[in-house]
């Protein structure tokens, strides 16, 4: 299998889907400049630069989607989605329901997210949970080149609005990508490591931190099961619950801030539906509830690290050996970044 970067994987997906379906078109601030290869192949009508106005970019996508096109728009950095919330949430997410099913909104909204480039809080906020919380949307956030390609293709073919987040830190990472047109279905999590003692559930860049942590845990004879959610909405409850029941210990890891984040959702599902299998508290390791700092060492510290995951996992595995109240406190310590 060829090794390609995440950026290349995204380009491949766009090219292949635009070839397959003439209704697919793409626009955004600088899209035609940065993806000039697409302009050459598909023409200036299907690949467009836009004025600097996220609201109308997303609104235009929604209007076009409702009437026969399948737009993909690039809104650059996730905080800029703030300017397009009305169009994504109130229009694309709700108008199908409001219209009693008369219209559908096959569109993809792309955005970069997360720490890694030192761009500061107005370019870096992991706000994927907002869209998970909103009705009528799907939310995708891959961690491997193959998934970027396969899930973007699936998103473009989906008849619903999909918010597709690319973790900035992964842009230049590479991985094996199947040569064919493999689709990765929306709504299916992936098991990245099979393990029996503790389940690490994550998505995007922190999946890699979990895998590193799993390697280190293996050295301590702790067998970690690693789940990559890939799709945040709809969530793959089955895979989450199977893993939780299997190990009885769950740590959810993500860079987004904790309160009402995806980790809260996963932990709640586990605490409700796998309760009897739990051997220890469900814990979350997340970025702090702070705007993202630009300063390099602060930005690094913002992201949950393998060490913290290892430490939390060890505590969870040892949970129950001393008095419970005390244990919880010690477990919780590890999670307060």
């Amino acid at each position: 299998m060829p090794n390609v970067t995440v950026q290349e994987a995204i380009s491949q997906a766009l090219t292949e889907e635009m070839r397959r379906d003439p209704r697919v078109l793409m626009f955004g601030e600088g899209v035609a400049t940065k993806r000039y290869d697409l302009v050459k192949e598909f023409g200036a009508q299907r690949v467009r630069n836009t004025p600097l106005a996220e609201g109308i970019i997303a609104g235009t996508a929604a209007g076009a989607a409702a009437t026969g096109l399948r737009p993909v728009v690039d809104l650059l950095f996730s905080p800029f989605l703030c300017f397009a919330m009305e169009e994504i949430v109130n229009s694309a997410g709700k108008l199908r329901y409001i219209s009693g099913g008369q219209f559908s909104f096959p569109m993809v909204v792309m955005a970069l997210t997360g720490a890694g480039w030192g761009v500061g809080a107005q370019h870096n906020q992991n706000n994927e949970a907002w869209f998970v919380h909103s009705p009528g949307l799907k939310v995708v956030m891959p961690s491997t080149a193959a998934d970027f390609r396969g899930l973007l293709k699936a998103a473009i073919r989906d008849d619903n609005p999909v918010v597709f987040f690319s973790d900035i830190a992964l842009a230049f990472e590479s991985g094996e990508v199947p040569a064919g047109g493999e689709i990765v279905p929306i709504g299916k999590a992936a098991v990245r490591r099979d393990g029996t003692d503790v389940t690490l559930i994550s998505y995007a860049k922190t999946v890699h931190a979990c895998i590193k942590a799993a390697d280190r845990l293996a050295e301590q004879n702790i067998s970690a099961h690693v789940i990559d959610l890939r799709t945040l909405k709809p969530l793959d409850e089955e895979t989450i619950l199977n893993a939780a029941r299997k190990t009885g210990r769950v740590i959810v890891v993500h860079e987004a801030s904790r309160m009402c984040g995806v980790g809260a959702e996963v932990a709640s599902i586990v605490a409700e539906k796998a309760f009897s299998a739990l051997k220890a508290p469900v814990i979350r390791l997340t970025g702090p509830d702070a705007p993202a700092p630009a300063s390099f060492p602060l930005e690094q510290a913002f992201v949950p690290q393998p060490d913290a995951i290892v430490e939390a996992a060890v505590r969870l595995v040892n949970y129950g050996e001393t008095s419970a109240g005390d244990q919880e406190q010690r477990v919780s310590l590890a999670t307060s970044l």
Partner: protein, 327 residues
């Protein structure tokens, strides 16, 4: 007379070219009758366009069947002029399963795909944000229809107005923007929100041709709309028409508009578009009092049937709560 009667019964997707006067009048009368019925039967959380019927009838009757419409919270006139069934509209307003949107929309967001009313947004400015995309579909898919986007003077102060017009101008999108400048934005007078008097002057700066028309004169609106539609259809670029009018009722029927200047209200009441059209047609001998009386009867009976239909329709099943969210 027979030919004329036939005309008045066709729906708004047909051009009112041949003998528009009667068509336009009856269309306005039907809108008025429908909207005035609502508070009568206890529906007060609804925004009516009483006094603005000339804008709806004049513009919508200038369209062809292939044209698409986007509208806002004050949409009943646009829908009825387009030929919507008042029964299914009322059912929707009452949240009944026989409504155009199965009761999920309610009064504020009725869309009717089969009539080309593609999207109704009650987020003020929502229709403006969606319009360029609808027009982009027409452009990319080579469809002949144009897109008509109705919105108010209030919507014109939302940022998305600026974004929508600028994009439409730059991308040559076939959109006819209709700004119904009715002097009010809910509880705020237009004068409190801008220094200019006409929104059409705003449009011009984007490189979009624009015009203000007396929105209480259905003939003037219709004539201007026909020219505008023609331009958009031929030149495949946007045009901006402002219908200058007045909101005669409160923001919603429940609103007693005690904050509205009585003199301003009275001055506009004297320009009532339906009364004006009736008087003109009688004066010019184009319609007899008898024909107008027949229209009134027809309109009344249409509305009575609508009330009966909607009233006797069932509410949706509770299972409908979570259907039609995803395609």
């Amino acid at each position: 007379m027979d030919r004329q009667k036939e005309k008045t019964e066709t729906n708004g997707t047909q051009s009112a070219a041949a003998d528009p006067a009667a068509t336009l009048l009856e269309s306005m009368m039907l809108i008025r009758a429908y909207e005035e019925k609502l508070p009568e039967i206890g529906i007060k959380m609804v925004c009516t366009s009483v006094g603005q019927e000339a804008s709806a009838a004049g513009v919508v009757h200038a369209l062809s069947a292939e044209d698409l419409i986007l509208t806002n919270h004050r949409s009943a006139g646009h829908l009825i002029a387009r030929g919507a069934d008042p029964g299914k509209m009322l059912a929707e307003v009452m949240g009944k399963s026989t409504g155009y949107c199965k009761g999920k929309s309610g009064t504020l967001h009725i869309s009717i795909k089969e009539l080309g009313i593609v999207l109704t947004s009650t987020i003020v400015g929502g229709e403006l944000s969606l319009a360029p995309g609808v027009a982009l579909s027409q452009q990319q898919l080579g469809r002949p229809g144009i897109v008509v986007c109705f919105f108010g003077d209030g919507a014109a102060t939302e940022g998305v107005f600026h974004e929508s017009l600028n994009l439409a101008a730059k991308w040559n999108l076939p959109i006819l923007y209709i700004c119904e400048n009715n002097q009010w934005q809910a509880y705020v007078h237009r004068r409190e929100t801008m220094l200019t008097d006409h929104i059409s002057t705003w449009a011009a700066k984007y490189g979009i041709e624009s015009l203000t028309v007396d929105g209480n004169d259905v003939h003037a609106v219709h004539a201007a709309a026909r020219v505008a539609v023609d331009k958009v259809r031929t030149a495949r670029k946007p045009f901006f028409l402002e219908t200058y009018t007045f909101r005669m009722h409160g923001h919603m029927e429940a609103d007693d508009q005690s904050y509205v200047d009585r003199q301003e209200l009275a001055a506009w009441a004297a320009k009532d578009p339906i009364q004006r059209q009736k008087e003109r047609l009688l004066r010019e001998g184009l319609l007899s009092a008898e024909v107008i009386a027949q229209m009134e009867t027809r309109v009344r009976s249409t509305i009575e049937s609508a009330v009966a239909f909607a009233g006797s329709s069932p509410y949706p099943e509770l299972a409908e709560l979570t259907t039609e969210i995803y395609a």
